[in-house]
């Protein structure tokens, strides 16, 4: 893991499959590929994916309750048990030859007969004044990572999704008060988390409100609402959804939809033979770790089929 066994990574060979990504989709895909006896390599920008920043996972079958990082530690252990090599790097371009793909990063190049793009998504930003200036000085996109810095302070979570509710619940363990700032009429959390939020005396929801500016000096001091009110907070946790990491796919001609998600079929195939996609970067309407893993597993099987049909010995 983390390029630890470079002797196990052969830069000259043509891998059966290179999986791009470091989250559950990519690792689930790699585990199945290894069990199909494919020669597989995983290249991820950061190991763990977005789920690693989630403090509570309670809907992954077989695991009653764990943290996102805890879940990924289990994935890592499973991956290590199959000796699947992992490299921390980012692929910048892919070129297609007659019988394989060449993947280029800034540091190395790799060859593969098939590729699964499981590059996930990244947190959407609000795009308001002060957000960038105060990043790391009171503006955060990860409550699990940064929440403990706000002990006994007042913070707000921007957004109304299940993730936003879970961020607020996590933060409430340490902070004095959490305000959920949501533009809608009712938060869209899973019922169990919505109930937890409603019963938590440290959490208060401010509906029908947008933040238009973040202000402070050395650190965040307040936010400005769209009704003109200045509201004092010490930290702003932004949880307003995510955008798919599909730039690489688009550069090589993989078709995407209007949301920039890669269009895949039931076999996780894209429009380019030999290139598959799965997880948050793809166009499924419901995105969860478990659905990503499912698509990743299907992509592994489709890759297995693809190579078999190429009549290439592996």
């Amino acid at each position: 893991m983390f390029n630890i066994d470079m002797e196990g990574i052969d830069l000259e060979k043509t891998y059966d499959l290179i999986v791009l990504g470091g989250g559950p989709t990519a690792i689930g895909c790699a585990i199945y590929a290894a069990r199909f006896a494919l020669d597989v390599l995983v290249i991820g920008k950061i190991f763990g994916g977005l789920i690693a920043t989630t403090h509570l996972v309670e809907n992954y079958p077989g695991i009653t309750s764990t943290s996102g990082q805890g879940l990924m530690d289990m994935f890592k252990e499973h991956m290590n048990s199959l000796n699947i090599p992992y490299i921390s790097d980012e692929i910048r371009s892919i070129e297609q030859t007659t019988d394989h793909f060449v993947l280029h990063s800034f540091f190395q190049k790799f060859k593969a007969k098939s590729v699964v793009i499981a590059t996930g998504s990244e947190r959407k930003k609000l795009g308001i004044p002060g957000e960038e200036d105060f990043a790391g000085r009171g503006v955060s996109y990860c409550a699990t990572c940064d929440g403990p810095f706000y002990k006994d302070k007042t913070v707000c979570v921007v957004g109304g999704s299940d993730s936003a509710a879970k961020e607020a619940l996590f933060l409430s363990q340490n902070v004095k008060k959490v305000y959920i700032i949501y533009r809608g009429e009712e938060i869209r959390a899973e019922p169990i988390n919505k109930k937890r939020v409603e019963e938590n005396h440290k959490i208060e929801i401010i509906y029908r409100t947008n933040i238009v500016e973040i202000k402070g000096d050395n650190t965040v001091k307040s936010v400005i609402f769209d009704n003109g009110t200045e509201f004092e907070v010490d930290g702003v946790f932004i949880e307003v959804g995510s955008i798919p990491n599909s730039d690489l796919a688009k550069r090589i001609g993989v078709k995407t939809n209007e949301k920039n998600e890669i269009i895949i079929n039931r076999k996780s195939e894209t429009n380019i033979p030999g290139i598959f996609a799965a997880g948050d970067v793809a166009d499924a309407p419901f995105k969860q770790a478990i659905t990503g893993v499912s698509e990743g597993v299907i992509a592994a099987y489709s890759s297995f089929d693809f190579i078999k049909e190429m009549n290439i010995e592996y």
């Binding site: 390029n3 630890i4 950061i46 190991f47 990082q69 490299i87 790097d89 650190t219």
Partner: protein, 205 residues
């Protein structure tokens, strides 16, 4: 996981560790964890423990300002990596990886770092982390490999800001990982190897 990882070490390597009676709790914790590494290492991991208070010459030589501190040194006895952090939890894999590279395992970034060495100024990279930070492990790994490939031009210091809150206060940290490059530039979040290299050679992506 410590026992599993350290078994990968197949050549001997020595760590210098400075402990302190002033920070006894953290020093004891660090030595307990190091003991697990050492016992599981098939005698590949050697430890030299020094008291911060009674080894002023070495403290000066290695520029130790706080303890407990673990030093990884190169063949010229230059400090390449410092750990002001107990190498447990998410730090285990990058810690063992650095030990392995010190003993000759290939370094993924070595070629590109060597090609760019003349563009890199001597730099100290401080990596401010916590145990519960999802992406810290990858960032520690990148910074450590850069330092190990840099022929002494770069050094990396990994600091657990929960163990050293004064350092957290000094840099006003509210996000992990945070990188402090030469006491000057602050980089936050899940920075990639490519972004860090560009930062070191003063280029933009």
């Amino acid at each position: 996981m410590i026992r599993e990882e350290i078994k990968k070490l197949i050549k001997p390597v020595t760590l210098k560790i400075f402990t302190s009676s002033k920070n006894l709790q953290e020093s004891v914790k660090m030595m307990e964890v190091i003991d697990i590494y050492q016992k599981a290492s098939n005698e590949m991991l050697k430890i030299e423990e020094y008291r911060f208070e009674t080894n002023s010459e070495l403290v000066k030589k290695y520029e130790i300002h706080q303890a407990p501190t673990i030093l990884m040194t190169d063949a010229k006895d230059q400090v390449v990596i410092r750990y002001l952090a107990v190498p447990s939890a998410a730090k285990i894999q990058p810690f063992v990886q650095a030990l392995m590279i010190l003993t000759g395992t290939p370094n993924y970034y070595e070629n590109v770092i060597r090609e760019n060495l003349n563009k890199i100024n001597p730099t100290v990279i401080k990596v401010l982390i916590t145990d519960y930070c999802a992406y810290c492990s990858t960032v520690i790994s990148i910074c450590s490999q850069f330092a190990l490939a840099s022929e002494g031009k770069l050094s990396t210091t990994i600091i657990d800001i929960m163990a050293f809150p004064d350092i957290s206060d000094k840099y006003n940290v509210t996000t992990v990982p945070t990188l402090i490059v030469n006491e000057d530039k602050k980089l936050i979040g899940d920075i990639t190897a490519e972004e860090l290299l560009y930062e070191l050679i003063n280029k933009t992506l």
